[in-house]
């Protein structure tokens, strides 16, 4: 399905999102592949049960053999028989800074991935297309690192107390003022973990008697936060505004399910960039709907803050909207700022309420000081307040890399999901065997990629996901593209039937964001 939408002036520039349909033959072959694997799985389980094959799982203690089994056998069927075969594609240990090039520790397995041994050799200079390093702030030298080193020697690594007790350092106050300025909101609050920001603050905002409308493909932290809050959850189709509007209308007209009482409040949960699909939320339409139906919007900008928009201020900046229209702006510092933690920004009443009632402020340790300093320095760099144009250059470099990489992959004939401007590029693999093969072949050619399969994605839609970075130079991208082309031919991954005609390579300049035609 191809959407190129101008939608009556809500969008100031074209919104190109594509999710090409799975070719029928490929879908059938994928199911056949999974069927064969399942059959073999049953066979191996049978052999293991009858001791024909050695069982290499860890097992329960002798003294506790008569306890109720901790895991159901079937729960782990997928784990034992499918995941274990390609387990070497994940949890790859690295031993250098996760920048554009990374060093990996080599590991081998002599028993088909049940155990790994480290050979001691280090594979150097692998092009890193898996780390969330959008603006290239994962560096081991430079202003950010020096500032963090100074704060580390002054403050130490830990904090040993919660925000409300004795853990509120002056650094935290400085950070929060800066974040509020960066986002263009009245006030902000920072937390120690991005996942926990969602799972601990959504329950503080909504409770029983409220309604949460959440996108189909929301992240696990949003789903957990919604569940813990006790509110009613309704799911709308991914990025589908008609589905959302229908749910909103029904909710207000019919009220709560059995008592028919009106809802106390309605909260819409969306993400800026969805990391598995590479799609960008249709924010202008969501805001229009939110205003029409008087609901509240919670925007999770984990991947989009710093990575989208001409000034790097995220998806609100990308669409040219007013940050005050979004009630709760949440994001993380892990991806574009090269640090750790999360934040929530919004009106002063909201942040005052969260400072008093957020679970994280009362029970969880605050951010570590060197991490705070890294965020402060990198944020000032992006805003241009450190006196250089490094930040702006990086934002532009990322946008250029994104456009170039996506266009070249589409020209080669791969199926690429998602929006043209999103730095998360999913390349469809579909078949289970290709998941492992793609990861291994790319590693042989010194390129590190991330492959994802079930259960993070639907069962036939396994994919390889590239995360572009401002630290990638054009040469690195060209090398990577050459290798991807080779592997694509080797594994027959070029499924696309809508080949793009290769365009002339145009240089990227400041006018690119003002153009409305490509």
């Amino acid at each position: 399905i191809n959407h190129i939408v101008h939608n009556g002036g809500l969008y100031k520039r074209p919104f190109n999102e594509a999710f090409e349909e799975t070719p029928m033959l490929v879908a059938v072959l994928t199911y056949v592949g999974y069927g064969v694997l399942t059959l073999f799985g049953y066979l191996r389980d049978f052999m293991r049960q009858w001791k024909i094959e050695k069982c290499q799982n860890a097992t329960e203690r002798e003294e506790q053999k008569d306890f109720v089994p901790l895991y159901q056998d079937f729960e782990n069927f997928y784990n034992r028989n499918l995941y274990m075969r390609i387990r070497d594609s994940w949890n790859r240990p690295i031993c250098s800074v996760p920048g554009a090039k990374v060093d990996m520790m080599e590991r081998v397995s002599h028993d088909y991935n049940w155990t790994f041994t480290y050979t001691g050799r280090v594979i150097k200079d692998i092009i890193n297309m898996g780390s969330y390093n959008y603006l290239g702030f994962a560096q081991k030298s430079g202003t950010c690192q020096e500032a963090a080193a100074k704060v580390l020697s002054q403050y130490g690594a830990g904090v040993c107390s919660t925000r409300q007790e004795m853990g509120n350092l002056d650094k935290h106050e400085e950070l929060e003022k800066l974040v509020a300025r960066f986002l263009g909101v009245e006030s902000a609050m920072a937390y120690g973990m991005g996942f926990a920001t969602n799972s601990m603050n959504i329950p503080a905002l909504v409770g029983k008697g409220c309604l949460i409308l959440s996108d189909e493909l929301n992240h696990a932290s949003l789903v957990l936060g919604a569940r813990l809050s006790g509110a009613t959850i309704r799911i709308f189709k991914h990025n589908n505004m008609q589905s959302l509007e229908k749910l909103l209308k029904d909710a207000i007209v019919h009220g709560q399910p059995r008592t028919r009482r009106p809802w106390k409040k309605i909260l819409i949960l969306v993400e800026g960039i969805y990391s598995m699909e590479g799609s960008i939320v249709r924010l202008p339409e969501v805001i229009a709907l939110k205003k029409k139906y008087k609901s509240y919007l919670y925007l999770d900008e984990a991947h989009s803050i710093g990575a989208l928009g001409p000034n790097g201020r995220g998806v609100v900046d990308y669409f040219g909207l007013n940050p005050e229209d979004v009630d709760v702006m949440m994001g993380t510092f892990t991806k574009s700022f090269g640090a750790a933690g999360g934040y929530i920004g919004g009106k002063k009443e909201l942040i005052d309420y969260l400072r008093t009632y957020s679970h994280s402020a009362v029970y969880a340790t605050s951010l570590s000081p060197p991490v705070v300093e890294q965020i402060i320095t990198s944020m000032k760099c992006i805003m241009g307040e450190d006196g250089t144009t490094v930040g702006k250059a990086r934002v532009q470099q990322l946008a250029e890399n994104t456009r170039y990489f996506r266009r070249r992959l589409k020209e080669m004939g791969f199926i690429i999901y998602g929006n043209e401007d999103s730095p998360v590029v999913p390349l469809m693999l579909y078949m289970p065997a290709k998941i492992g093969a793609f990861g291994r072949e790319m590693l042989k050619r010194n390129i590190g990629v991330v492959v994802v399969g079930f259960p993070a994605t639907p069962i036939i839609e396994s994919r390889a996901r590239f995360c572009l970075s401002a630290a990638h130079t054009k040469e690195m991208l060209d090398t990577a593209l050459k290798e991807i082309n080779e592997v694509g031919d080797l594994l027959q991954l070029k499924y696309s039937r809508h080949r793009l005609v290769p365009l002339l390579d145009r240089p990227f300049d400041e006018t690119t964001y003002e153009e409305t035609e490509d």
Partner: protein, 456 residues
């Protein structure tokens, strides 16, 4: 071949009836949605939601944080005043230890600050693997797993094993992180009175009789007991030997939360299992956070590989979250080194705890809650004024008096509406290895003075 006339007429009527049914309007059984679209518009216009958040009064005690300028170490500058720190959980004084800072600096120069990815996607550093190995070796278990946030450790560990339909017996005074983990797991929660083994046994017996009614279900219902080594809310320890007996008698697994007792109890700081001399394999899962004794950030779980390995795919805080920044992991490794090299600090800490516990007895108006060797005590009002708000105000005045005279204290903070069993308001006193005997005595006498002037 002629059919009889009545047959033809009957069939003709049937055909006409079918045609009528096909073309008539559908008959809805539900009465809903006879609303016209105009009425729907009106309803949408009329509906007024509550404000997103209620407004918080300016003087709310939890709104105005203490601002600490500079590092929260032994001498701490709170709101501009230099005080001796009796409020941060820096039990072993490792927060500003030079060796720890140097190790973190070296790691910063090698890896930068953030890891830019979860453990599964190029976020596993050799530092993480080393820390996991060291923790497993220190605690003498097979394997350990690291989380990047202390709160998320136990809150992700419990739902990984306990699902809907399973039964968890948990102590009333357990901390908030455990409560959130239990809520996320959707299991049946049975609370037993704090440290009351008779109450727990009663609940277990009740469960046993339930099981006999339905043995098929009982065979697949997992049971767990969740307890803390040293309770944060009451400062006392759980009776672990009795729990082990109950475990084998009723076939229940034990999850032990050792955030406060790791690095405090036991001859070498291995926690409550070393304190009681229990074989560590008898405990199914030990979870602790590294934010207290190890003065870093994050948490870990340790136990047998059979149990811990499961969390690598089903622990939500592990799979879906970025990994711990390497500099914090390096700081934790160095802190572990120091703990292993100086096993006498645990004795020194215990000595100081006992000293101040004795010194704080007999303050008029305040009672000490906590064991004598617990490094965190609570001072509660002997007689409550009747309303929690007033109690909190009184305690705040005591705390302010002490802060003005150079001892930094804090009240224990809770979320009043969310806690299952809300503890009484109290002042938290934390003892660290760095406090000298004079400072301990000064704190005790200052608290006596404050209690005298405020409460009498």
């Amino acid at each position: 071949f002629q059919a009889p006339a009545y047959h033809l007429i009957l069939e003709g009527i049937l055909i006409l009836w079918i045609i009528r049914l096909l073309f008539s309007k559908t008959y809805k059984l539900q009465e809903r949605s006879d609303l016209t679209s105009k009425e729907k518009e009106e309803l949408i216009e009329e509906w007024q939601p509550e404000p997103l958040v209620p407004s918080v009064p300016k003087e709310h005690p939890a709104l105005n944080y203490n601002i600490v300028s500079g590092p929260p170490t032994h001498i701490i500058t709170v709101n501009g005043k230099k005080c001796i720190n009796f409020a941060s959980f820096n039990f072993l004084g490792l927060l500003d230890n030079e060796k720890v800072k140097n190790a973190a600096q070296a790691s910063l120069k090698k890896y930068g600050v953030g890891t830019c990815g979860p453990r599964g996607f190029y976020g596993t550093f050799d530092v993480h693997l080393e820390l996991e190995e060291r923790l497993a070796k220190f605690m003498r278990t097979e394997e350990a797993i690291i989380y990047s946030y202390g709160f998320a450790t136990i809150a992700s560990a419990i739902p990984a094993y306990s699902k809907r339909g399973d039964i968890v017996f948990v102590d009333e005074a357990s901390c908030f992180a455990i409560q959130k983990g239990l809520q996320a797991s959707r299991s049946n929660i049975k609370l037993f009175k704090h440290n009351d083994m008779a109450d727990l046994e009663r609940l277990l017996k009740e469960q046993e009789t339930e099981d006999q009614k339905n043995p098929r279900k009982a065979r697949v219902t997992r049971r767990f007991i969740v307890v803390e080594g040293l309770y944060m809310n009451t400062g006392d320890i759980c009776p672990l030997p009795e729990l082990i007996k109950l475990k084998y008698k009723y076939k229940v697994r034990i999850f032990l939360e050792e955030s406060l007792s790791f690095g405090v109890l036991g001859e070498h700081g291995r926690g409550i299992t070393e304190h009681f001399g229990i074989n560590i394999d008898d405990i199914d899962l030990i979870s602790a956070n590294m934010e207290n004794s190890l003065a870093s950030i994050g948490g870990f779980c340790c136990g047998r590989s059979f149990i811990i390995d499961h969390q690598r795919l089903s622990g939500q805080g592990y799979c879906f979250s970025a990994s711990l920044p390497p500099l914090l992991a390096a700081a934790a490794i160095e802190a572990l080194n120091i703990m292993e090299d100086n096993p006498d600090i645990f004795q020194i800490l215990r000595h100081k705890c006992e000293r101040i516990h004795k010194a704080l007895q007999g303050i008029s108006g305040l009672k000490v809650v906590g064991e004598s060797f617990s490094p965190t005590l609570h001072l509660q009002l002997e007689e409550s004024s009747g309303s929690r708000e007033n109690d909190v105000k009184l305690l705040k005045r005591v705390v302010d008096y002490c802060m003005n005279s150079g001892i930094a204290l804090t009240q224990a903070r809770y979320l009043d509406k969310e806690e299952k069993c809300l503890p009484a308001p109290s002042i938290r006193v934390v003892i660290t290895v760095e406090q000298t005997e004079q400072e301990l005595d000064k704190a005790a006498s200052l608290l006596k003075e404050a209690a005298q002037s405020v409460l009498n």
